[in-house]
């Protein structure tokens, strides 16, 4: 991909990633955040987190479809960091607008309410990933260890979706779409590994047959 196109795409990605925040800020400034502003902020930041995580997890499977899509990797860190950014806003919304900065109330919630427990777990899982997102950290850790650490993103995404299901009322099926998409993206990985193994075996068998 040409450098100028890449820069343009990066700018567009930044704008798209900032869009949910921009809408919230605009809504807050014009007093137009809907009937229940607290719920609007909570839902918008939570949904942005899950969507960005899902898109960042789509990059590897999509790249594998064709070597021409390799440039997509240049966007993964950006998407991942924005996912963490919205997750942090989501957590802050809870701390400020739900718990009212009351530490006891928060401790109580985390201990007692499983959707909060799993939500906080998801954020904690994202924290080391965001902290080691710099080139310096990758060099320091070494590619292999860095890769292993960043597998935590799968656990974070699963926790995020469980958090969504446990938050909605039983019988409400709205989290289904993102669950299915995420499920496909996660299953694409072992499927790809299996396919590679099968291809290697076939190649080896062909070589043996010829030999």
């Amino acid at each position: 991909m040409k450098r100028s196109n890449l820069i343009l795409l990066k700018i567009l990605t930044w704008l798209a990633c900032l869009w949910p925040l921009g809408r919230l800020l605009w809504g807050a400034a014009t007093n137009d955040l809907g009937a229940d502003p607290t719920a609007t902020i909570t839902f918008a930041t939570g949904l942005a987190t899950l969507r960005l995580l899902t898109i960042s997890l789509a990059i590897t499977p999509v790249r594998r479809l064709s070597p021409r899509l390799n440039w997509l990797i240049k966007f993964r860190r950006l998407l991942g960091l924005f996912a963490f950014f919205y997750a942090s806003l989501h957590l802050l919304t809870y701390i400020a607008l739900y718990a009212g900065f009351d530490v006891n109330a928060m401790a109580n919630d985390i201990a007692k309410r499983r959707f909060i427990t799993v939500g906080v777990a998801a954020w904690l899982l994202l924290l080391p990933l965001a902290a080691t997102s710099t080139n310096f950290a990758i060099r320091k850790l070494g590619g292999k260890r860095w890769n292993r650490l960043h597998k935590l993103v799968y656990a974070a995404a699963v926790c995020g979706v469980i958090h969504y299901w446990w938050q909605v009322k039983p019988g409400v099926l709205t989290p289904l779409t993102i669950t299915v998409i995420l499920g496909v993206l996660l299953l694409a990985r072992p499927a790809w590994t299996l396919q590679q193994k099968w291809l290697r075996n076939r190649k080896a068998a062909a070589v043996r047959a010829r030999g």
């Binding site: 229940d36 607008l97 309410r113 009322k169």
Partner: protein, 327 residues
């Protein structure tokens, strides 16, 4: 022993006949006014659509009301826009904005309410007769949703007890069940959930007879918009909102606690009583505080009151009951 029953209706409760007639004239006039305006706007070829008993001809119809001592004072009303566009009515979609967009097809005329179960004789009431049964009262109530948000709504109706008198329940009737309208074709969004319809709710007989329990026909001076449970619903202000069944077509008197929709869905989360109680947490969220609808995000939070602040009127219904057990 001679038991003298008090008369069913005290003479002071009876609205003078000319007042009834006035209301009818008023209603008729208002409807024809709407129809005429609609016809002018749409052109004559669509007049039939407007004149047919559709909900559009009724929505916005003013109702004549009288004052009530049971109205809640000292609260700022939630705006009409928020009351009518922020609704939980899952038959029309699970997002709060969906019912106001999707409920247009609810056929609110003709409408009847079937009464059966432990009653002297099963009966069917027509909505027009129910509108005329008692003078309609203005009743402002706080409305507290189990999701921890709240509103203040000026409802219109009369005490459900007035209607129950007409149903002639037997002494074996201990509970009342309310069944909501359900038609898969009109409420196709209902099947986007795994909830089994029709919506069912219930009250203990003494709760249903408490004067605060309102048989509701309107809000903000007008006929109920469809998304708020037209053409008639109940409002039980000291309980979480889901206890206040909408668009009622069936009232069944029972000797046993009836099955209710959310209780069936998750018994540990939604009890049969579901009285507003800041001391009994919902397993998934605290009920200690609530968010008042329509305020900026930094000003929404307020303390939730036991029985939603209606303890003086209803606490005695639960004397000696462990409200943690019977939540």
């Amino acid at each position: 022993m001679l038991i003298v029953k008090p008369p069913d209706i005290s003479s002071s409760a009876i609205t003078p006949k000319d007042q009834y007639l006035n209301r009818r004239r008023f209603l008729r006039g208002a409807v024809s006014g709407v129809v005429a305006a609609g016809a002018a706007a749409l052109g004559a070829e669509r007049l039939a659509e407007v004149v047919s008993p559709s909900t559009r001809a009724l929505a916005g119809t003013r109702l004549e009301t009288v004052k009530s001592p049971l109205t809640t004072t000292g609260e700022e009303l939630t705006s009409l826009k928020d009351v009518t566009t922020y609704n939980n009515f899952y038959e029309f979609g699970v997002d709060k904005g969906q019912p106001s967009m999707n409920a247009g097809g609810l056929p609110t005329r003709p409408w009847t309410v079937r009464v059966d179960g432990k009653v002297k004789n099963p009966k069917t009431f027509d909505i027009e007769a129910l509108l005329r049964l008692r003078p309609l009262e203005d009743r402002v109530y706080r409305h507290r949703c189990v999701e921890a948000w709240s509103m203040v709504i000026p409802w219109i109706g009369y005490s459900l007890s007035e209607f129950i008198q007409q149903c002639e329940p037997l002494s074996t009737a201990k509970y009342v069940q309310f069944l909501s309208y359900y038609d898969k074709k009109v409420e196709k969004w209902g099947s986007e959930t795994s909830i089994s319809w029709p919506y069912s709710e219930g009250l203990r007989m003494d709760e249903a007879l408490n004067p605060l329990t309102l048989l509701t026909f309107g809000l903000y001076g007008e006929v109920l918009p469809n998304q708020n449970g037209a053409p008639l619903r109940i409002v039980v202000p000291w309980k979480y909102g889901f206890k206040s069944a909408k668009s009622i077509v069936g009232v069944r008197f029972q000797d046993r606690m009836p099955p209710t929709t959310w209780n069936d869905q998750a018994p540990s989360e939604y009890g049969f009583y579901s009285n507003v109680n800041p001391n009994v947490d919902h397993p998934r969220w605290s009920q200690k505080t609530e968010r008042r609808i329509g305020l900026p995000f930094y000003a929404q939070r307020r303390t939730t009151l036991l029985f939603n602040g209606y303890g003086d009127q209803v606490a005695s219904l639960y004397n000696g009951m462990d409200l943690r057990k019977y939540f």
